[in-house]
């Protein structure tokens, strides 16, 4: 059983956070909210998203799992104006999701969850540094780096207490340093890892500019990116595997 009403914005934010990595996903419809966990086909980036029942206008569920084609559902959500409400109801018999937006009714065929790639385990990482930063600063770093290179180094200098970004291109370079004054918070520990900008660009799309984003970093370790959605009633965790540093 699943029946819920949610704002179009919350629904779009939720879907966007997952669709940057995968085309299809399983959605767990738990009693206290939904959870989506997915990893991209290359096993490089993963997402763990939770949206609590409080993020919905109304919410009723009893623990089922459905398989969803994300771009299809995004298209439907795109039919709603921001501020409009979207009504969702699962038909257990037909395994279809009924979606209503201001009189518009859409019946979405679901995917067999067993046919969707297995959900990943969240890596248990002991990361040495934690940076809390505004979403717009991540956007700035990613955008500038993308002009010169296809990968980006993120690091923390423990002695100087700063977070830095390095992108080295064939001809041009980009460097950005943010000190503790410019960051929301910094728990310094030496860290530096290299990441693919292709992935980071996609993840960046899902990060709201005004969000407080927590980055966890290590030495040649995956990066964790955590941020709240739906006014704190939900959260997104991205984990991104590093590239090998060749120098």
């Amino acid at each position: 059983m699943f029946k819920a009403i949610v704002s179009a914005e919350t629904l779009k934010t939720t879907l966007d956070s997952v669709s940057v990595l995968v085309d299809e996903c399983k959605v767990h419809l738990d009693e206290d909210g939904i959870e989506i966990r997915a990893v991209d086909p290359a096993n490089v980036g993963m997402v763990d998203l939770r949206l609590s029942a409080e993020a919905f206008e109304s919410y009723e569920a009893d623990g089922g799992v459905i398989g969803v084609n994300l771009s299809r559902l995004e298209d439907i959500a795109g039919m709603a104006d921001s501020g409009q409400l979207v009504e969702l109801e699962l038909d257990e018999e037909t395994r279809k999701l009924h979606i209503q937006i201001d009189g518009l009714e859409y019946t979405l065929a679901l995917i067999d969850p067993d046919s969707i790639r297995q959900e990943p385990d969240i890596p248990d990482l002991d990361l040495s540094a934690e940076v809390v930063i505004e979403g717009k600063d991540i956007n700035r770093a990613v955008k500038a780096s993308d002009m010169v290179s296809d990968h980006i180094a993120l690091g923390v200098d423990a002695s100087d207490e700063l977070f830095y970004v390095d992108a080295e291109g064939d001809t041009d370079d980009v460097h950005l340093e943010l000190t503790t004054e410019q960051l929301i918070d910094l728990q310094a520990g030496d860290a530096r890892s290299l990441f693919s900008l292709d992935y980071l660009k996609d993840m960046n799309k899902a990060i709201p500019a005004d969000a407080e984003v927590t980055l966890e970093l290590g030495e040649e370790f995956p990066l964790k990116i955590k941020f709240p959605i739906a006014e704190g009633q939900g959260s997104v965790l991205f984990v991104l595997a590093p590239r090998i540093q060749s120098d």
Partner: protein, 326 residues
């Protein structure tokens, strides 16, 4: 030969690349390259891989296009090249010549019937790699730091030997014969678009309730690369007879049938000419730039054919996967 017959007997399952455990794949290089030479690359324009001196180096395109599939899925290829033909006795050589002539006529039939898969299989069985292909393949693999092993005789037997010794998790070949050489786990369809097929020896033997020796005997009765089968014996009959009588000789005696050189063929599968003298390092450190220059500048391959492949190789080797931390 009993290619289709063995398929009927083998335990096969299609496994998505994502779900394969990472590991070393001992690849029958001759078999692998010929897939590319005869099916993939052949359909493209000759000019792309023919030098101004007229040398065809489609193998280079095949290697660059074929390797990413392994590397992107944490499979470490070790290419195993055929050595000279097994030390065959005079009558065996005559037999093989006959066998080859038979293949060639089968090949013509398959071509006429338009059976591309069978054509590729038979072409690979009748043709040898040209000296230029032999040499340039090894040079390119060296630049890419992909290890390779020289088999004393049959590449496939050496692959199985490497896997049996625990130095590779998989054998990579299209040939079902890998089972007869005792390859524990074989991956097929590594060159085609979809998911690979995993063939496991233990499960094959368990399902058939046979020993490996008996499976070889069943195959000999159906016919293999090295012998003509017994007329009228398909996999079902051969299996039934071996089970009823115990082994090949008992079947010969009880059923009054005969396979020429049966002892030699049996020996070839049971104790093939293989070597322990090999070593390889699967920690790769390729010189992509040099490899690109070798293929594009030295051997005049159209850059557009290999550009994406080189990028994928580079990406696969520098980007780690999250599974490393779970």
């Amino acid at each position: 030969m009993g290619n289709a017959d063995l398929r009927d007997l083998a335990h096969l399952e299609t496994v998505p690349f994502d779900e394969l455990d990472p590991g070393v794949v001992a690849v029958d290089a001759h078999n692998w390259l010929y897939r590319y030479l005869t099916t993939t690359v052949r359909w493209t324009n000759d000019d792309i891989y023919t030098t101004s001196d007229g040398d065809e180096v489609a193998n280079l395109v095949g290697i660059v296009q074929g390797l990413p599939k392994f590397l992107e899925h944490d499979l470490n290829p070790v290419m195993v090249f055929d050595g000279g033909p097994s030390e065959l006795k005079a009558d065996e050589i005559a037999d093989r010549r006959e066998q080859r002539e038979k293949y060639e006529s089968q090949l013509e039939d398959a071509r006429e019937a338009g059976d591309a898969v069978e054509v590729a299989r038979l072409e690979s069985a009748t043709q040898r790699l040209t000296p230029v292909i032999q040499e340039t393949s090894r040079e390119l693999l060296e630049l890419l730091d992909i290890p390779f092993v020289e088999a004393p005789a049959e590449g496939e037997a050496q692959c199985a030997h490497i896997a049996k010794r625990g130095d590779a998790e998989y054998v990579g070949t299209e040939d079902y014969d890998a089972l007869l050489f005792g390859a524990p786990t074989t991956l097929r369809q590594l060159t085609s678009k979809g998911d690979p097929e995993r063939m496991t020896l233990d499960e094959t033997l368990a399902a058939l309730d046979l020993s490996l020796e008996q499976l070889v005997d069943v195959a000999i009765l159906c016919g293999t690369d090295f012998n003509e089968g017994v007329h009228g014996y398909g996999p079902k009959t051969a299996l039934k007879k071996v089970k009823a009588h115990g082994d090949l000789w008992a079947v010969f005696e009880q059923e009054d049938v005969y396979v020429e050189n049966a002892d030699l063929v049996r020996e070839l599968f049971r104790n093939p000419n293989v070597t322990d003298e090999y070593s390889f390092d699967v920690d790769l450190d390729p010189d992509i730039e040099a490899a690109r220059a070798y293929v594009v500048d030295e051997w005049e391959v159209d850059e557009s054919e290999v550009e994406r492949g080189f990028e994928r190789i580079e990406d696969a080797l520098t980007q780690t996967g999250l599974d490393r931390w779970t």
